[in-house]
């Protein structure tokens, strides 16, 4: 009798028997706020939908128009220049700052915490505020800070934001300033994990500072650097707020990156179909980068 009761109790389903009930709320939230919007954007990209007309038709026209448009190709070119320059310098400067701070800590120098905090503050400031700060610096009238300094040393007025090429450089510099801190944090964390004995051994073996850096530290840091590169690349592709506040994409389309172009298509020109198609292309770029990242992680796990 007791055995039967025990068997019955054992056969009774418990929510704790399976992870499904615990994962279900998260899965529901993800489906609602992530999967559904993506599917909806994908669907809308194959329509001629407008934000102000309820009726629409399914078509490939959004993609065809977009890919044939010289403006969109120019936006892609500008985005790639912006992303490439931003990523290279963010990772490079982040690495240098992390190395300097790390060496400072190892040698017990004062001011390393202040340096870390100062660099981190750039990362903590919202993009819109950074856009406004840099627009004050770049101001081209007599009130502009950088132009005032340029005039003092006899350079004359520099069209930081009103000339397309200089504007793209100015926006990229502002973005490098903003994003360097994030790279620094990741790389600094990576530096803390380097095995002391290996570094000591290299030193005892007579390796100079440059050799220790290039032949020991960088190879050991490679996984961290790679992950930093991937994250920073995705983040830079999605940059919108700072460019919006700094130039609004101008002059002309001189600084119109793809995320900003999507915003203009949908909310300024009310062209939901074409905006969705551009968003799908940005999503594709990000997915390719994420795929590369996942493959790398898989390979590393396989090696380990």
């Amino acid at each position: 009798m007791e055995k039967v009761a025990e068997e019955k109790a054992a056969s009774r389903w418990r929510p704790g028997d399976t992870p499904v009930p615990w994962l279900l709320p998260l899965a529901l939230v993800l489906v609602l706020v992530f999967v559904y919007p993506i599917l909806e954007i994908l669907r809308l990209s194959f329509t001629d939908a407008s934000l102000v007309r309820p009726e629409y038709a399914y078509t490939l026209e959004s993609y065809i128009t977009l890919l044939r448009s010289p403006d969109f190709l120019s936006t892609l070119r500008i985005t790639f220049i912006f992303v490439f320059a931003s990523v290279v310098f963010q990772v490079l400067l982040g690495f240098i700052i992390a190395l300097v701070v790390d060496q400072g800590v190892r040698r017990g120098l004062r001011g390393t915490i202040v340096t870390r905090t100062a660099v981190l503050s750039a990362w903590a400031i919202p993009g819109v505020i950074i856009g406004i700060i840099w627009s004050i610096l770049y101001e081209e009238s007599a009130a502009g800070i950088l132009n005032h300094l340029a005039n003092l040393v006899g350079f004359g007025s520099i069209p930081f934001l009103s000339e397309p090429n200089t504007a793209l450089a100015s926006v990229t510099v502002a973005n490098i300033w903003r994003g360097t801190a994030f790279s620094m944090i990741l790389i600094y964390a990576g530096l803390q994990t380097l095995p002391e004995d290996v570094l000591e051994a290299a030193k005892i073996d007579g390796a100079n500072a440059w050799q220790r850096l290039t032949r020991v530290m960088i190879p050991l840091l490679a996984p961290v650097l790679f992950i930093t590169l991937i994250i920073v690349t995705i983040e830079t592709f999605n940059t919108f707020d700072m460019v919006m506040a700094l130039t609004g994409g101008g002059p002309g389309r001189g600084t119109e990156v793809i995320a900003l172009s999507i915003y203009y298509q949908i909310f300024q020109q009310l062209n939901l179909g074409r905006g969705a198609a551009a968003a799908v292309m940005l999503l594709a770029v990000n997915m390719i980068i994420t795929f590369v990242y996942l493959r790398y992680i898989e390979r590393r796990q396989g090696i380990e």
Binding site: G16, G252, L270
Partner: protein, 444 residues
């Protein structure tokens, strides 16, 4: 034996061992309870009949950051609620007015619009089919009180009044009285005077030419309209790149290019997307003339001082090509009533009249917000405060004001023209080439 079994059962319950049936029962009861609560909350009870939904963008709502406006709204709403027994349900939409209108139109087309909502006046014709016709505009208000451009916006093609305009604005030429005796009326006069002023080291003539709507409303359209140009035809098709309109638009681009090439206008105007972006230049003392909006008066008076500003700056019509056919852009905000319930519609008219549209309401809201009243009769009320430039603004509203076309293609024309103008100013494109690109992009 029994007690052990009970004990085990209690133990297993404590270990969350509920049966699948119990689990489903509990879930079902929960869902049913929630549904009942929802039904009770959404049912057509008496209480909801007395609630009136009122939707505005943040700066026109109780969630605004300007304390004086919020206090005015709180007092006026409380007074009206007390008198009429209704409760106002304030709904706040997004700050971006273009996005707010787009969402409202989407809601209206699906029959989900609030009882009454704020609409950008130039877009109002798109809402004609969704808003209710208004036979009565409220106590003491008649269509004839309004400026002609406002009457056109408020009335649909069948002649029925569909909305209540409650604020307006106008663009003008601001010029330095101490530097300029007679403000330039024609483009040639601007160029001639501008050369002299530029030779004195001044920024002679500024205007917005960046990536935002002011480039169109405050720079391109007044210059284009002054030559008789039209952006769209009556059906809303783009015609700005055809015939005389094309010539007029190319003239605008060439005129602006001349201003920049001759050093009258600095190239940095391509970074100015809003009228207020020019405030720094206007206050710097190095600017002689600029295209701006009426709302900049109070801002600039705060920066440079009230008396000093009035002493230094005068206003005149935005120069026309021929020096006489002036045109300017006007805008403003409108209330649309969407509710089909006749009682609520009546309540909405009464509410809007008391807070925004009637003599007291319009005077109160325009005074506290620094707006121009779209009802010309309000200018004559002693309670309306205005400023030293109010008479000029009134004259411009009456004689030169026009509104942007409500056609769906307008947003595309505006966005592409902003890019085209920047290209011409930076020398990347020729005026004709720039216009052709705009035409191709919008399918003109």
């Amino acid at each position: 034996m029994k007690s052990r079994r009970v004990g085990r059962r209690v133990l297993s319950r404590n270990a969350s061992g509920i049966s699948r049936r119990d689990f489903l029962k509990l879930s079902g009861a929960g869902v049913a309870g929630l549904a009942l609560m929802g039904v009770a909350g959404c049912g057509p009870g008496d209480e909801l009949q007395e609630t009136l939904q009122w939707q505005a963008i943040p700066s026109y709502s109780l969630e605004g950051t300007d304390q004086a406006r919020v206090e005015y709204l709180q007092e006026a709403i409380a007074r009206w609620e007390e008198e009429h027994g209704y409760t106002i349900e304030p709904l706040v939409t997004v700050a971006d007015i273009g996005a707010a209108n787009a969402r409202l139109l989407e809601q209206a087309s699906q029959g989900r619009a609030p009882d009454t909502a704020m609409v950008d006046s130039y877009l109002f014709p798109r809402f004609y089919e969704h808003v209710q016709p208004l036979e009565d505009l409220g106590e003491g208000v008649s269509l004839d009180d309004y400026f002609p451009f406002a009457q056109d916006l408020m009335t649909d093609d069948a002649g029925e009044v569909r909305g209540l305009m409650f604020t307006t604005d106008v663009r003008v030429l601001y010029y330095r009285r101490d530097l300029i005796d007679t403000p330039p009326a024609s483009w040639d006069e601007v160029l001639e005077l501008g050369r002299d002023l530029a030779n004195e080291g001044l920024d002679a003539y500024l205007f917005p030419a960046g990536r935002d709507e002011a480039t169109m409303t405050t720079t391109v359209l007044p210059l284009f309209w002054s030559q008789g140009g039209e952006l769209t035809d009556e059906e809303g098709n783009p015609v700005f790149a055809e015939g005389a309109n094309r010539e007029a638009m190319i003239n605008v681009l060439e005129y602006i290019r001349s201003c920049v090439q001759e050093g009258i206008t600095p190239q940095r105007v391509t970074t100015y997307g809003l009228e207020t972006d020019l405030n720094g230049d206007a206050a710097s003392g190095n600017t002689a003339m600029f295209h701006g909006g009426n709302w900049q008066v109070s801002m600039l008076q705060e920066i440079v001082g009230e008396e000093e500003f009035v002493e230094q700056w005068g206003v005149a019509p935005i120069p026309a090509e021929d020096g006489s056919s002036f045109a300017t852009t006007s805008g403003g905000q409108m209330w649309g009533i969407f509710t089909e319930d006749p009682e609520k519609r009546e309540a909405a008219i009464s509410f809007l009249n008391a807070v925004f549209v009637g003599d007291e309401g319009m005077t109160g809201w325009c005074n506290v917000g620094g707006y121009l009243p779209p009802r010309e009769t309000v200018f004559d009320l002693p309670e309306y405060e205005g400023n030293e430039y109010t008479d000029s603004f009134r004259e411009h509203l009456d004689q030169y004001a026009r509104v942007r076309p409500a056609a769906e293609v307008y947003e595309s024309i505006s966005a592409e023209m902003q890019v085209a103008l920047s290209g011409v100013i930076t020398g990347e494109t020729e005026p004709e080439q720039a216009l052709d690109r705009v035409a191709a992009a919008v399918g003109a």
